[in-house]
């Protein structure tokens, strides 16, 4: 055990004395999450919206004027029937529609509560989300003005409906995606590089000649990265919660446990890569081309898997990241428990066992 601690200490010296790996370990996660985070809160300008006004009273007119006056929206036409909303969307003329309920003004005054429906085209989920937020802000602003100086607290209840992509599939998708990429990067690429580095320098041979057993060497190299990956995962989750107000609906404990599982899967993959690659550069190329690209393109992080051609869908199934994204998306966004993600969890466990088995086998062949 003492030997082991000495080994891990040495591993941390390596990591903390190499500026490049420090940057990849800590700079990259924060940079990525901020980049993706701010990329989705894109500003909107002159968005075409249509309005269906069932009450046509003073209040609705005030609100419509307020919305039209803002630089964000252009109210291009008024329509009379609900069915016309669909037509307008299909023609691609509008990005959003507002539907004022009947007797809007009267409800607001009598019951202090009126309802407005905001319908957005969620094929572009980021924009849809922004539009909703902007309209809400304008409504709140209007109410603040109206409530000034009176005791009664009027409320307008916006009912948001996103059409064509009701689950809003890729909003907040960047957090699970970035987390997956970072964990994969840190765990698989960094470990494969650090193991091949010892091979390249010849120190691996010295370690194998020492009384340390090969698996002890490997575990010793891997433990620091488990530790750092867990920290990274925590940083990403905290950043998403506090900076981007990402909801975590499910259990944080389950999220942590699944993350550790995925970290181990990635580490196993990293070890496997290090048994194939002889040099650090080769390890890096294999990790980048063989892991990063599929994770970004095929895991469902950016492009929905359901819209991929069948062969790519099959390929995406052998990418561990795909299953992990499903798992954390489930936990973070839908708040599901183990009952819904046991299948994905099992797949990840199976993959991990497979990778470790292959590494052990390859490793033995090399020693023969």
């Amino acid at each position: 055990m003492k030997r082991f601690i000495g080994f891990i200490k040495k591993e941390f010296y390596h990591i903390f004395r190499d500026k490049r790996s420090l940057f990849i370990l800590f700079g990259m996660p924060i940079a990525q999450i901020l980049l993706f985070g701010f990329a989705i809160t894109n500003e909107i300008n002159n968005v075409q919206i249509t309005i269906l006004d069932h009450s046509k009273d003073a209040t609705t007119e005030e609100i419509i004027n307020k919305i039209s006056a803002s630089k964000y929206f252009t109210t291009n036409q008024m329509i009379a029937r609900e069915a016309d909303i669909e037509t307008a969307f299909k023609k691609g003329k509008i990005k959003a529609a507002l539907n004022f309920e009947k007797d809007f003004s009267r409800n607001l005054i009598r019951e202090q509560k009126a309802t407005i429906q905001i319908i957005t085209d969620a094929t572009d989920p980021n924009t849809a989300n922004s539009i909703t937020n902007y309209i809400n802000a304008i409504l709140q602003n209007y109410l603040q003005d109206k409530n000034k100086g009176i005791q009664i607290d009027y409320q307008i209840v916006p009912q948001t409906r996103m059409v064509y992509n009701p689950e809003l599939k890729s909003v907040f998708m960047f957090v699970p995606g970035v987390m997956t990429i970072i964990l994969m990067l840190v765990s698989a690429m960094m470990t494969s590089i650090s193991i091949t580095r010892e091979k390249e320098l010849g120190t691996m041979e010295i370690l194998l000649v020492s009384p340390l057993k090969p698996f002890q060497v490997i575990i010793g190299k891997v433990v620091p990265y488990i530790f750092l990956s867990v920290i990274n995962a925590a940083v990403i989750v905290l950043l998403s919660i506090f900076i981007f107000k990402m909801p975590v609906q499910g259990s944080l404990f389950l999220l942590g446990a699944e993350s550790v599982l995925f970290i181990i899967t990635s580490l196993a993959l990293g070890i496997l890569i290090s048994t194939i690659a002889e040099t650090q550069q080769a390890a890096m190329m294999i990790s980048l081309m063989g892991l990063m690209l599929p994770v970004i393109l095929l895991s469902g992080f950016i492009f929905p898997i359901s819209s991929m051609p069948a062969p790519l869908q099959i390929i995406s199934s052998i990418i561990p990241a795909k299953w992990f994204i499903i798992i954390i998306k489930g936990i973070m966004l839908k708040g599901v428990g183990m009952a819904f993600i046991w299948k994905e969890t099992l797949i990840l466990i199976g993959m991990t066992v497979l990778f470790i088995g292959l590494s052990v086998k390859k490793y033995k062949i090399r020693l023969e």
Binding site: K2, R3, G6, F7, K9, K10, Y13, H14, R17, D18, L201, G202, T203, E205, I206, L207, L208, V209, S210, P211, L212, K213, L367, E368
Partner: protein
Amino acid sequence: MKKENVIVAEALTKAFGDFKAVNAISFEVKKGEIFGFLGANGAGKTTAMKMLIGISKPSSGNAKVAGFDVYNQTESIKKNIGYMSQKFTLYDDLTVKENITFFGGIYGLSRAKIREKRAQLVSELGLEGISNKLVGSLPLGWKQKLSFSVSLLHEPKIVFLDEPTGGVDPITRRQFWEMIYKAADQGTTIFVTTHYMDEAEYCERVSIVVEGRIEALDTPKKLKEQFKVDSMNDVFLKLARNIE
């Protein structure tokens, strides 16, 4: 006085497919001996050594190192040997002290023992002023000497040196051999491969490996007499020509 054999190899062979990198070599090495393993690059020196230190399984033949079998007692062998490979094998991004502590640690030395050894080693090598410097910043000669000392840290019975003086200047090489003699005097057996023929003269006994076979094995003096030449270099050239 007959000294015990610490390395015994009998028809030790390593084949990669049809190619026999090491072809049925047999020899004994006695305790405290400096045993030279000479040969051109690619003659099979390193492959033979890897079998003896337990990181490569022989294809056939037998060998015992420090009394342990190379097939199934490699763990015991590893505890009793030190090894320094062709490449420089300390960690460049660790300091002198950290390297010593780390390697002492993986050989299971106690903390007190490591501290004692570390102080001793630093003063013997004259590294006092720079023991907290990164090893990467030291000149190659010092690195090699440090590397050798580290391979002796756990007081192994046998030390295997694989071309330890590659790329080192003549003065440092000289100092290096003085260190080797000192270790041998203290009873450590030295198994050293080299392709510097002048270094062969420093060994007590020399085996010359050509294409995987041991073609000659004796003291440098006797080998020179046998081949009627003045230097080990000529012995080697004669042997190599005969094979061709």
